[in-house]
Symmetry: C2
Subunit: 401 residues, 2 copies
């Protein structure tokens, strides 16, 4: 008899992976007792006893044998309902829903404290790379200065096709969709929101501070043009969609998601295809680099399994850094050096550059390289959303990885 009796919500790509991984992990001592799905009559790709499938969540919540809820459904609102109800019942939950967690984390922490349940979600950030738990436990001290990485496999796959396979952006996007590395509506990935939500979760465990999604600058790769790609190629750098949280002083930190020119000397330069890579920088240990498959059915499922087993051994996130007496304060009052390419939008008039280093004008395309405050980028989001414009971070402000 298994010790861990799982009630599973969701039987999509990740849910099916969990079914496979749990049956492979002979010593994990876990079994799936019941699976709640939207449509119990849908054909499934995995072998399982159909009798355990239900569309009634109470068959999981009210089953006294089930001692762990695993939630891997796509809809963040439904995920929130299920996870918050489970926590209010004092249950233990493992979740992979990054959007839901990033939006509701303070409340989810409160629910754990109030009702004694627990919530683990290592799979929600970077799939199989154990970022959250390492930040919470191993880098459990205030020596941490920066976490920076490629957190989204789809957009990285597309940019890899462009830079390593010389495909143009539209063809690369289509390849990603055809191979299943991007959704039919890829905007969540390529506009940077997937990276943003992961970054929010990472920041809670890196610095002990929760920042709301709407307060963070996020800018994706959908406006990239051949001009930008050629510019990067000429400079022998790649354009990557980078998420970062950085301490800029003892008292302050900043965070954002945007495309960045990445030279060959950086670790994340060689994070290609659908892979994720995270650089953790600290005062004493310098840089550590973790690299692996950030998404996909089995990698994500194996991370879920890791959380399942950790829960079984009594593990819960301590959120210890949130209790530090001097948690750093989030600021957008920093200067970034950026490249802004445009055709019609009067960028120089509309964006309040602090200084301008380069102006390039031609018949069809212009760009400017200058310094601008992150807070001004947030304020000018509407300008930046103009389809003829693309912005790329070339700031290295004080860091160098």
């Amino acid at each position: 008899m298994a010790d861990i009796k799982v009630g599973l919500f969701g039987l999509g790509v990740v849910g099916e992976g969990i079914v496979k991984v749990i049956s492979n992990a002979r010593n994990a001592n876990a079994e799936i007792r019941r699976i709640c799905v939207k449509n119990p009559h849908k054909a499934r790709k995995v072998n399982l006893d159909k009798a355990i499938i239900t569309d009634n969540r109470h068959e999981i919540f009210d089953d006294p044998e089930i001692n762990l809820i695993v939630e891997v459904i796509n809809d963040p609102d439904a995920a929130y309902e299920i996870v918050s109800e489970a926590l209010r019942r004092g249950l233990a939950v493992v979740s992979g829903s990054k959007t839901m967690i990033a939006r509701h984390l303070p409340e989810l922490i409160e629910l754990q404290n109030k009702y004694g349940g627990s919530l683990l979600y290592d799979a929600s950030s970077c799939g199989s790379i154990p970022v959250i738990r390492n930040l919470e436990e191993y880098y459990d001290n205030d020596l941490l200065l920066e976490v920076k990485g490629i957190l989204n496999g789809s957009s990285n796959f597309i940019l890899s096709r462009v830079f390593d396979h010389n495909e143009d952006y539209d063809k690369a996007l289509q390849t990603a969709i055809d191979l299943g590395f991007a959704e039919a509506d890829p905007s969540f990935d390529i506009e940077g929101f997937d990276s943003l939500y992961k970054l929010i979760i990472i920041t809670v465990h890196a610095l002990g501070v929760y920042v709301k999604p709407e307060d963070i600058f996020v800018y994706g790769i959908s406006h990239i043009s051949d001009f930008d790609i050629n510019y990067a190629r000429e400079k022998r750098v790649k354009i990557k969609l980078v998420a970062q949280v950085v301490k800029i002083s003892d008292s302050h930190f900043t965070m954002f998601v945007m495309p960045e020119f990445v030279p060959k000397s950086r670790y994340i330069y060689s994070v290609d295809d659908e892979y994720n890579g995270v650089v953790i920088r600290g005062e004493c240990y310098d840089r550590q680099f973790m690299f692996g498959k950030g998404a996909g059915s089995l990698p994500t499922a194996s991370s879920i399994l890791s959380d399942i087993v950790a829960h079984h051994h009594g593990y819960r996130y301590g959120y210890k850094k949130m209790a530090y007496h001097d948690t750093p304060v989030y600021t957008t009052d920093i200067l970034l050096r950026v490249y802004v390419r445009y055709s019609r939008t009067p960028v120089i008039d509309l964006l309040p550059f602090h200084s301008v280093q380069v102006r390039y004008n031609s018949e069809t395309t212009n760009y400017v390289i200058g310094e601008i405050k992150l807070s001004d980028l947030i304020a000018c989001k509407e300008v930046l959303m103009q389809p003829d414009l693309f912005i790329i971070n070339i700031t290295r402000f004080f860091n160098d990885n």
Copy 2:
């Protein structure tokens, strides 16, 4: 007042690093209360109150205020005495002494169980890279297939100078010694023993099995010649000193340390200079790569701090995989494909090759490429120690990373 009151054994490179790191980590809530050293009158490079230095270990053991022993002394016998005495007293210990731990781990586990003390030693393997704790906790299931990596910074630094800077081996070795990346007597590093001891510790946490050092094949890089280096360059591969533990079936695993031809496509190809890199491969998550500074004063000290804080939060290694009902069995009954270069030693007569694919003979240098059992390599260690001979693994048996 600090919660964690450390009694520190050893004030060498790592000990001095610990003094610095603890004073930098404002939220760690730790202080060093007493330091036991061999020579209390020696000049020290760090600022500290001389009154806390002693050469009498009982001033630490008998101080009821001290709630954690940190041991970072070089002499493995003295380290064993101190750590085992501390554990017999039921104390909590953090140690960085890989040789001592690798030699005595079963007894040290028993002492923890018997007297209720605890022992953490993440710093002992790969310095600042959190390999042990991730293997114990995150990869806490039987999906793990392989851990393979570059675990020794000194030998890797030397090989990097050879392959990336075109230095010859002797000059590279001298550079390593001059820059402090290798000891004046570098044999512990370059003959593979440092890697071996780390691999033994890793294997306990990867597969739940302890294997004695004397039962494992270890072969270093000191016999490397210009011929080997040129051969590797021509084939566009690097020679790296690689430690690996690999499951070869559901029931068996093997492990060894030896030079290996590493092609560009492998993650460890780009682990250069004094860095360490570890690839963790599993059934579902494919490959994960962890990369960072494996040694040095501050990186090692920050790993020690991580263990100090983990202990404070009640963490102890569970050695859970040792309790699996089907822990795999160590075997050396596997075929490796190797390159053996020699001048005088009659290699073909003395080594029982299972098959030979290539024979090369010239006036000065010969080599053979063939398959040979790992158990036969162990049995023929004396042959392999001939100074005119060098052996390099080119086996990829069933793995491909």
